[in-house]
Structure formats: structure tokens, C-alpha cells
Amino acid sequence: MPTKLIINCETGEQTEVELTDEEVAQREADAIAYAAQEAERDAAAVAKAAAKASGEAKLAALGLTAEEISAL
């Protein structure tokens, strides 16, 4: 079982205490939530990049140069 290092600021005492089952479960839930958050963020970034590329392609089809598009 992983342990946590506890430093009592009043006494200076340092102790190693095993994580409780609840703390272990919380860490696992946090990791799952973080993975979901990261996946959502990555998907948003991919969608934004695709929209940017699509928009630039449409502007190029209208006759704008790459310099003109980048200046927008």
C-alpha cells in the first residue's frame, strides 16, 4: 500500500502512514477524470486545427495568397 508523508508543522514530527482504501479509490477516480479531461482537450484542439485548415483552404480557393491569409 502506498504511504503518505505527514509533516506536523507544530511538532516537526514526520510520519509515514499508509493510504486508506478511500484515498486509493479517490486517486483512481481522479486519474480517470483527468484522462477524460485530457481527451476532451485534445479533441477540441484537433477540431480547432481542422476548422482552421478548412477555413484557410476556402480562402485560398477564393484567390487569397498564403500571405494574405496569414495576415487576417
Binding site: P2, T3, N8, C9, E16, Q26, D30
Partner: protein, 169 residues
Amino acid sequence: MASKYTLIASSTVGSGGSATISFTSIPATYTDLKVVANARTDRASNNDWVKIGFNGSTSSFTYREIEGDGSTVGSYTGSGQLAFFATASSSTASTFGNAEVYIPNYTGANYKSYSVDTVTENNGTTAVASMNAGLWSNTAAITSIELTPNLGTNFVQYSTAYLYGISNS
């Protein structure tokens, strides 16, 4: 007004590693707090986040963060306890992420804000730096601070954390 830094407590992780570094019974006698940390976790990656918690709480945390790694930049807003960087198992050996976390007015009755300046250290591949503004939407005075790897299981040996109290007199 002169500021006085006082080292309240410090700790170095031992050979077995630690899943959390927890400062408890923080005295209420200072104006602000600062955590200075050097952290490395056992995550199988180049780096890891370290989460900060107050009074054992894992909820009501939000942050706004900007970061850069020399080739890309990003800015993020999110909920959660992500605070600063640690290096991890794939980082250059014996390197650590560095961070300073400033926590003003930690005994006040308002929500608790904190600001973070952090960087990884990695001679081999990408390193990243970040500035982070966090908020714990809770009015309780802070009496304990918990530091926990985000995806790693443990802080590895020689990771350190120092807690300073700052008095404006």
C-alpha cells in the same frame, strides 16, 4: 513594509517513495504561505503534474495556466488541483521539477487563491515551464497542505518540499 520568511517545515522523500506529502497543523500566525518544491514521480513519462490540496479537500479547485516548452505554447482553464510540474521516470536521471507556490491570506475568510511558477528539468528532451493561477473556492482557513502526484503513484526519493510562513512585519 518588510517581509520576513520563516521556514515552518521541510521534508525529503525517503527511499520507499511517498504517495503524498502533507503539511499538517500549519500555524495561523503568518500573513501568507509559500511552498517550494522539487519533485519527481514514478510516472512512466517525461513529466507529471503535482496536485495541491488544502485541508484534505479535493473539490472546488480551478486554475488558469499558461505554459511553453520551447516549440509550442498553450493556455488552459480547468477544474481540478493541478498545480505544478514534476519530472518523471523518463526524465534525465536525478532531475526534478521545481516550483514555488504562493498562497496569500491563507487564514482569511475569502476564497483562497494561489499562484505557481514551475518548470521541469530535462537535459534529454522537451522541458516545459508554466505559470498557473489557482483558486480554492472555500472560505476555511488553510491548516494543512497536501501535495500528490497526478498520475504517478509516488514521489520518488530525494523529492523535497519546504513550507515557509511570510509575515508582513
